[in-house]
């Protein structure tokens, strides 16, 4: 099975190439530019990973990082790389990828760059679920994660049901979501005011979103969830691209619009909920990553793979900055993404507002 280009070389659909078997039974169409972007993002991720694993209080030379990860070299280097730095890095990459793809799917569904889970209340709902577990049941970390998943999915169901009116319209979903987010956020504040100081403190840390102290126990469940959800997202991506043409056009072309939408909501909420359960409601990655990916690839649609890579890069780089720039204080990564993302959100809102006024 050699990868060959099918069809006339002087393709009019320039900018894309077809990879597959000579018979054409397997023919995957990819944008050349998307491939280049994905490769560049991967390279940047490798750079960030190398810096993350090698620098810090205990310097591990780059040449020793990989041997250390496999148990060679000094015991200290091995411990620091495999127990402290690697799982935290992997958690950041996986959570970032999940947020990027989840955000991209919702932006595609709502046909609006503002339609990401952190804006339409899923994160706030996840926080409500987690807070109830932290403050009312004083649950373990695992129970907090479960609480946030229940909260996030519950919120998504409520927003979806409230937004349904002859199919779900993008703006309806966003406006309903913002309203629900505002309500839940006051519930969250109320919960914190009723809590003891210690509880309130751990709740506040959770609410900012952090990768501090994430170990293999966090990596494994996220990795398993992504192993299921990411391929599903890639598969749905093809159909979501069609849904962006509007329901009528998409259905006329043979797409099951409602089925695609529901499946995408389930997968998108799943990705967001898993990420939030693991690292708290880290803001703005879901909002920014898919849009950055889209501007890089210049292809409309959810851009699943580039969005995953952009999210992974954004979050791991933000965490690196949060760890190193304010050393020795370990700043929660949510603070770093909040600063960058807040600026982006302001820019996006002003642009949407101008466009809305024609």
């Amino acid at each position: 099975m050699s990868a060959v280009e099918v069809g006339p070389g002087r393709t009019r659909l320039s900018g894309s190439r077809v990879l597959g078997t000579r018979s054409g039974a397997l023919a995957l169409r990819v944008q050349t530019r998307s491939l280049v972007v994905a490769a560049a993002l991967l390279a940047l991720i490798v750079v960030v990973a190398a810096i993350t694993l090698s620098t810090g209080d205990y310097h591990v030379p780059l040449s020793e990082v990989i041997p250390a990860a496999f148990g060679q070299g000094g015991g200290a280097a091995h411990f620091i790389v495999t127990t402290l730095r690697l799982p935290r890095l992997l958690t950041g990459l996986l959570v970032g990828a999940a947020l990027g793809v989840g955000g991209g799917m919702f932006q595609s569904l709502s046909r609006n760059p503002l339609g990401s889970p952190d804006i339409v209340g899923f994160d706030t709902g996840a926080a409500t679920g987690a807070l109830i577990v932290i403050l009312v049941w004083h649950g373990s970390m695992f129970q907090v994660a479960a609480g946030s998943i229940v909260g996030g999915i519950g919120t998504a169901i409520v927003v979806y049901l409230l937004a349904i009116k002859r199919g779900v319209q993008g703006y309806r979903l966003i406006l309903v979501g913002i309203g629900i987010a505002a309500m839940l956020s006051s519930v969250n504040s109320y919960l914190i005011t009723r809590a003891s100081i210690q509880d309130a403190q751990s709740a506040a840390v959770w609410l900012t979103g952090s990768l501090n102290g994430r170990g293999w126990d966090q990596v494994r469940p996220v990795a398993i969830a992504l192993a299921v959800l990411l391929p599903a997202a890639v598969w749905l991506g093809r159909h979501l691209r069609m849904l962006e043409l509007g329901d009528d056009t998409a259905r006329a072309l043979g797409l099951h619009a409602e089925r695609t939408r529901l499946a995408s909501v389930v997968v998108g909420v799943g990705l967001t909920a898993v990420a939030t359960a693991c690292a708290g409601p880290i803001g703005f990655v879901a909002l920014c990553a898919p849009q950055v990916a889209r501007r890089l690839t210049k292809v409309p649609g959810p851009n699943v793979v580039p969005a995953a890579l952009t999210g992974a890069l954004l979050l791991s780089a933000s965490d690196l900055a949060a760890q190193r720039v304010f050393d020795p204080t370990q700043l929660p990564v949510g603070v770093a993404t909040g600063v960058v993302g807040g600026l982006y959100l302001a820019w996006l809102l002003s642009r949407e507002w101008r466009r809305g006024r024609g």
Partner: protein
């Protein structure tokens, strides 16, 4: 036998019934145009024929089979629909948009084939948008954009193509351009076309089969030369008019009666509500 037909079709939005008990057969190879006043159900009928709306009663048959029982992609290989005012995603290129018309011919593993390549190139050539292939759809003029959408529908390569008001928002030159293009597709490629049009004169000029609707029912159908009379136009649109042969094509040309006569007609109808809401101003802006 006709490939696309509806029997005792009843279509409704929520509780509001728009089309009731309608039987229609779209003649194969025809250039069918549906006309009627605003809100008469012509777009609803088109959407019903394209399975966009589930009928409340009755059926739509495609090749003798219930359209709703056929797999959606299977229908999409036989019947295409270009809805009214379709939306292009932000930042999409012409070639990408036209390529999406190939969706019903593709699968998970077979995402692009030489046949797709040919169909897209051919559709863009037929609608003369080949030179725009790399342009962004949002940057095109209204006429160009409509040709691009037509190209997408053509790339779908369906023998039957339904177009919902494809000339809306276009100036007259671009309206004629789009309709000429449709006529070419009909004559040279043998597509069965079903259009909803607002302009009765365009309908008469291009249609080989005209369907006139009023209140969700078909009032008359047939070749425009056979069915268009001043009585029919008055019944369908409530407009007094004179019919003369189009000096270009010989098809019926509808000339609305002058203002005075229309006004007399409106008063004759003795509809106090209408008369009151239309004060007898003599403003020339009327």
């Amino acid at each position: 036998m006709t490939r696309l037909r509806a029997e005792r079709l009843e279509l409704a939005y929520d509780q509001r019934t728009i089309v009731r008990g309608l039987d229609v057969a779209i003649p194969d190879g025809s250039f069918t145009v549906i006309v009627g006043a605003n809100g008469c159900g012509k777009s609803t009928l088109l959407r019903g024929l394209a399975r966009m709306l589930a009928p409340k009663a009755g059926t739509v048959l495609l090749d003798g089979e219930q359209i709703r029982s056929l797999p959606s992609k299977e229908v999409a290989r036989r019947l295409g629909l270009l809805p009214q005012g379709p939306i292009a995603p932000d930042g999409i290129t012409v070639a990408d948009l036209v390529g999406r018309g190939r969706y019903p011919h593709q699968g998970l593993l077979r995402q692009w084939s030489p046949a797709d390549e040919l169909a897209v190139a051919d559709a863009m050539a037929a609608t003369r948008v080949t030179a725009l292939a790399e342009a962004y759809v949002d940057e095109l003029s209204g006429g160009q954009r409509q040709r691009v959408w037509l190209a997408m529908a053509l790339a779908q390569q369906t023998p039957i193509l339904l177009l919902d008001e494809p000339t809306t928002y276009l100036d007259i030159a671009h309206q004629v351009e789009v309709l000429d293009l449709c006529a070419d597709l009909h004559e040279e490629r043998g597509h069965t076309l079903v259009l909803v049009l607002h302009d009765l004169n365009h309908a008469c000029r291009y249609a080989t089969h005209l369907i006139a609707m009023r209140d969700g029912r078909i009032v008359a159908e047939g070749h425009p030369c056979e069915i268009i009379t001043d009585e029919l136009v008055e019944e369908v649109f409530g407009l007094r008019c004179r019919i003369i042969p189009d000096p270009e094509t010989g098809t019926p040309l509808v000339i609305p009666a002058a203002r005075k006569e229309q006004r007399a007609e409106r008063d004759d109808r003795a509809d106090p509500a209408v008369t009151r809401s239309r004060p007898r101003a003599t403003s020339s802006a009327d």
